[in-house]
Symmetry: C2
Subunit: 788 residues, 2 copies
């Protein structure tokens, strides 16, 4: 089969290489090549800014407020939303060669290669370009967003003149390195008059200042009133006679570097960039903050930043790396996945981790339940400090969550379905407000984090507040029916092709765990709990609600309905649905989707992943087969979960196919929207599929257990994790699994239900042979792509 289009990227273990510029994939590559430390995010736009699909420079939680309109309003609908903004672009370095602007769309592009190096944490670019006038230059740029210096990004930019050209004195090179605020974004300011104008020119200039080789711009957003500072400084090396000047006005600061460069000579510019924002600090304070960060970066120097970056990543990869033998493409994808989740969370530091990290403007930059359920599943085991910070952020938005609960007539906290800074920004309540499960997902992330780290201080200082607030929510959201069942009616589970249903099994099981765990932690810390107003009666009422929790079961089919009554609904007409009519939500009304058996994303199946204790082996198998046949995976949050449960029910090759889908969602642009940012949760889900699926890992209060098994195409999977202060590595081969304690004190774990003591020496244990399992089927046309 001849591919219509050569692959955009080569398959290599540690780098993502785009060997030639793939213009139609520009949006996707901008996202994949995005660099971020969780505080600053720079999309992989070209240094010279154009051509682009979507220019993007983001600061975590730096947003503008915009009105949310409704054709018919309702009580409690949020009146305004928060949208991440494209802040001052400091990536821009424009080049003129003998007065010809360097622009790939003109002249001749002899070479264009970009390489994301996941060990170095840099994006490198190398270009050979012949100007329309016939001058050839080689351009090398390397960009990093520092993982060690949170406010800092830096770019090394080199231009080498390759040929003598007409003028023997060499080429006249002009480099304009810029800070540009209020960049015009494609698709805005044009067309549809109904288009929201509130995000045009969102940055109001407050200050601009330039020095010899640098400048600073400070702006303020109109409605959210956030002060944003961006500063740059430059170091220049090259032939004699270089002239460097800078100027700055309201929305544009520019350092201009002019040099006459002979063939074989190189002009090198190092650009240091710093960013800061604050909702409280004064103009001088923000100004000083970005200048100080810049001074520290210059003190460290380019080589120092590069070396720190590698050191940080070496340390990270030593545990986080997953090795896969037998599928080079998957090996690369899993590393990219891990790398992007790290980038999204590494230095977020008590701010949210958005669904796209800081790689694009998708979902308005909002964070959802994805963070707790998918990202933290990974981060608690490979970057536990980042995971703890993400949950600490949840604690900081408790006041807004209390207020929202009160507005909804509920007790405790109702966390927003989507937000940047804590306020509910969902404009469609059946798939927003009603999706209360996010509260139990946060509690589950606390439980998992405490189990993974053993951090009882965190449990007390962060966990307790979150658990009490969410337990109170569930207790007030549900009620006992006359038979004594505790019911939770009219809510929406993870599957967005159903909404506002009674007794969603996922929600009820998660709420049950939330209530139980809150009761347990409150009992463990009675004095602190008492300070939150918790008494023994309240704790007893949580336990009682958990015990009485109603979990519907369809005896006729022998499966759990996703929600009460679900299995009586009409089956979707999968055979009658053309491939181009997926995703269904773009081609069918919610009305139609909600009333039929068709599932966008794992819901009951996710319940089985998180609450294996609530299902018998038989139920797991039957449920998995049933839901497999009606799940269309129109969400990128599904394949990873289906992979886990496929592996756990013995469908190893199917699990492998789903793993491939989860891992390649952005590299292969499977959802068709990678241009708006990386699917961070699916990236994290890749790790989950490997560890919880093939590793059969479970992390409970009573310890860590594994039940490994490999799909037929892979000869080896090795993954590492932090576990209560230790580091361990698990290596699965077809016949056996090796457990190795990399650091830390001896521990116990379980391997296929057998206890194992792990100390200095690695332990290898055989993998039991799996029983034959009946194959399962997906809806017509919706099977995952076969790998290998």
């Amino acid at each position: 089969m001849k591919p219509e289009h050569a692959p955009t990227f080569t398959v290599e273990p540690w780098v993502i290489r785009e060997p030639r510029l793939d213009l139609p994939k520009m949006g996707q590559t901008e996202s994949i090549f995005a660099l971020s430390n969780g505080h600053i995010g720079l999309r992989g736009n070209l240094d010279e800014g154009e051509p682009h699909k979507l220019p993007g420079t983001y600061l975590n939680s730096c947003y503008e407020v915009r009105p949310l309109p409704y054709a018919e309003g309702g009580y409690g609908y949020p009146e305004s939303g928060q949208t991440i903004i494209n802040v001052t672009n400091g990536k821009l370095i424009r080049l003129l060669v003998d007065d010809e602007p360097f622009d790939l769309r003109y002249g001749t592009l002899r070479k264009h290669e970009r390489v994301l190096d996941m060990q170095a944490g840099t994006l490198h670019r190398e270009v050979e370009w012949e100007s329309p006038a016939g001058r050839t230059v080689r351009l090398r740029s390397t960009r990093l967003v520092s993982l060690t210096q949170r406010a800092i990004a830096a770019i090394s930019y080199e231009v080498e003149v390759l040929d003598p050209g007409d003028d023997p004195a060499g080429a006249l090179l002009v480099i304009q390195s810029e800070l540009v605020a209020n960049e015009q974004l494609p698709g805005r300011n044009e067309g549809d008059p109904r288009l929201d104008k509130s995000l045009d020119n969102v940055l109001e200039p407050e200050m601009s200042r330039s020095s010899d080789a640098g400048a600073t711009l400070v702006h303020r957003t109109h409605k959210s009133a956030l002060r944003v500072g961006a500063a740059m400084d430059h170091e220049v090396e090259g032939p004699d006679g270089i002239q460097v000047t800078s100027d700055a006005n309201e929305d544009l600061a520019r350092t201009t570097i002019i040099a006459r460069v002979k063939p074989g000579e190189t002009l090198r510019v190092t650009k240091y960039l710093s960013y800061g924002w604050s909702s409280r600090r004064s103009l001088p304070a923000v100004y000083d903050q970005v200048r100080a960060a810049l001074a520290a970066a210059r003190y460290t120097g380019w080589d120092g930043l590069v070396s720190e970056q590698r050191g940080y990543l070496d340390e990270f990869w030593s545990t986080a790396d997953v090795e896969i033998d037998g599928d080079a493409e998957l090996q690369q994808a899993v590393r990219l996945a891990t790398f992007h989740v790290l980038q999204a969370g590494a230095r977020a530091e008590r701010r949210c981790i958005g669904a796209k990290g800081l790689t694009g403007d998708g979902y308005d930059g909002h964070t959802f339940w994805d963070t707790e359920t998918f990202c933290l599943q990974l981060l608690s085991f490979v970057a536990p400090d980042a995971a703890a910070d993400a949950l600490r952020w949840r604690k900081t938005i408790l006041p807004q969550a209390f207020e929202r609960a009160a507005q909804l007539g509920l007790k405790g906290a109702a966390f927003p379905w989507r937000t940047i800074r804590g306020h509910e920004c969902s404009g469609y309540w059946p798939a927003g407000t009603a999706a209360f499960h996010i509260n139990a997902d946060i509690a589950d992330a606390v439980r998992r984090h405490v189990n993974a780290t053993g951090d009882t201080k965190f449990e007390l200082e962060v966990g307790l507040d979150l658990l009490v607030a969410t337990a109170r929510l569930w207790r007030s959201l549900g009620h006992h029916d006359p038979e004594g069942n505790f019911r939770i009616d009219g809510v929406t589970g993870p599957d967005e092709y159903s909404a506002v249903a009674d007794n969603n099994v996922y929600t009820n099981l998660m709420a049950q765990q939330n209530l139980r765990y809150a009761a347990e932690v409150a009992a463990k810390h009675p004095r602190s709990a008492s300070r939150l107003g918790v008494d023994t009666e309240e704790v007893a009422s949580w336990r009682d609600a958990a015990t009485s929790m109603y979990i519907p079961f369809d005896e006729r089919l022998g499966v759990h309905p996703q929600s009460e009554g679900f299995t009586s609904h009409k089956l979707w007409d999968f055979e009658g649905t053309a491939a181009e009519h997926y995703p269904l939500l773009l081609n069918f009304p919610y009305f139609d989707l909600y009333r039929k058996q068709v599932i966008k994303q794992a819901d009951l199946v996710l319940a089985m992943q998180i609450r294996p204790d609530a299902f018998t082996e038989e139920q797991r198998r039957r449920n998995f087969a049933y839901y497999e046949s009606i799940t269309v995976r129109d969400s990128s949050l599904s394949a990873c979960t289906q992979s886990v449960m496929a592996a756990r029910t013995g469908h190893l090759d199917l699990a492998y196919n789903y793993l491939g889908e989860a891992a390649l969602v952005d590299l292969h642009d499977l959802a068709g929207n990678s241009d708006h940012g990386i699917h961070i949760a699916s990236m994290a889900g890749t790790w989950t599929a490997i560890t919880l699926g093939f590793g059969g890992m479970r992390c409970e209060a009573d310890g860590l257990s594994f039940a490994p098994a490999l799909p037929s195409s892979l000869s080896r999977i090795s993954f590492g994790l932090h576990w209560q202060g230790r580091r361990i590595r698990v290596t699965i081969t077809p016949g056996e699994t090796e457990y190795r304690l990399v650091s830390g004190s001896p521990m116990r774990l379980r391997h296929h239900d057998e206890p194992v003591a792990l100390a200095e020496d690695p332990v290898s244990l055989p993998i039991p042979v799996h029983d034959y399992v009946e194959p399962v089927e997906q809806p017509y046309g919706r099977a995952p792509r076969q790998r290998g």
Copy 2:
């Protein structure tokens, strides 16, 4: 008890009199005093235009298109809506007395009385006013919107000078009679920048022309491209030397009448107004149309118009009048109710009947299910031609309904939840698109109309198409579950405090009747049915679905759940809900309302009214009591239905209280929003409560039956109706009921299940004594006001 505010209206049998101007109630009186013939609607604004609450001049189905915005969009959401517009105001007659503008807010108001005469069909006004300069005049105006000449309204305007004043030559009176387009409406053009601007200056001028004593303006709407013509002519009588001139420009035409009037003399102006609009006709055609209508009106003359009006109404009241002895307030209210329903529908002629008729801008002028379920219930029996026309209008919008069904993936027709000209205008699908019951409500109105009139030509020419289209919808909307039940999942019934539920009993019963009746009518007209593609297999599939229709029943409680699972939901905390927190939808989120047992308006109880055959006597009683205890009546569509079922279950005094609430909703402004128009459905429901409730009337294919009973406070109720070409009158007194055939051939009916033959002589039959019934309870604080 001393009232804080004297009643706005006196209690009189045939008129609504406002004995003195009640400025704070201006909005309500503008609605109550609105005159309409179903084609033209003039709110009861003062002749001089100001002060006003809401100026309003409406033409049936004359609307503008406006965008419907969504915070988060979805497939199939309507992108634009239709909003009724305030057309050229021709009611305006300004007066200057010695150059002082006649304005009630200045000078001294010695007398101000307005009288709506329901026998004459006129609004009369009498004012004595002393100008700030001390000149006293008496003003008498009488306004009518002709029920006989559809395009015509007319105003008789007289000014009498009462005192000699300073100038013995008399007062100089200037009357400016106007047509004003694009009137500034209160609450628009100001404040909130997000406010929809698309309805400002909606009329684009196309032509203005004046003659000696008249003028014409033609405009066109921007987006809906409707051409609207308004014309006026005047006749003037008075002392010698009157000068009459007219001028017209784009948005204003004015006839100016100047006269010197001595004390005791009167200046009288008759203003003839005509209106026309068209989406197709040319400018000259529309111009000619309004001028021709005006010529006919002048030919008829004021006295002729007044006399025709009374003739029309005499004929109407001879059958439609309901006489009530024992409650003068109710007597008046019932006549006003009947009058306003007549006004809404009389000459609508294949256009919609809006929820507010043409009395205000409430609900954007849209029509809902109200028309078929409430208004036509009345009109089929007292103005059957108007009822037939309303259903003919539904037939004209079948193309849009077919298109909507196709968009929703359904067969047949999906009628819009709210519309003016046939397109779905609902911006909130859970209470719009999902409320499919409107389709069965239309079919029920066809069935009722055919039963009431015996009009088989109508059944074939109008009914068959509507029935086939709706039966097809239901067949594709429901499905058979593995047990063979025909289920209709994920729809919304009449109660808007529940939404998107499975097997709503009302919906399923109405769909069942729709399917059965469609099968019956198709079988009766096989050749016509065949032209619609109906074959015996299809008819069989309708019958089968009807037979298998699933009707959930809660065995534990012995009641029907409103929808499947409803009775397991948590009960609303009625005791904890303060009176000022009603209506609940303004104070609680839909999320909270939908998941609890709290009912806005009769749903299951309405099912019992329309489908008494589907319930046992015991079920009726138990269901009524159960739903009574959780229904808060936040909708004006509830009291009348509760009245019917209270009467039918023996709660006669409760039924009487509910009847009072339904009848007085606008006279007492019980919903607090009468300023935006009359609650036409509640008005119609008043008649329903009397006839179906106290009359125990049922109208089925096999005949008419009654089971009368009176509440203790009333000594007599008498009502008339058209029945298959006859006119009959039913008079209920405490002990017996008299049936009288007013005209037409002998007939049979049933009285309390006993057959009665009715010919020339009235028949009197005893009313059986009711068994004692257990009292029922309403939610805390929500009992209807006790009458009598």
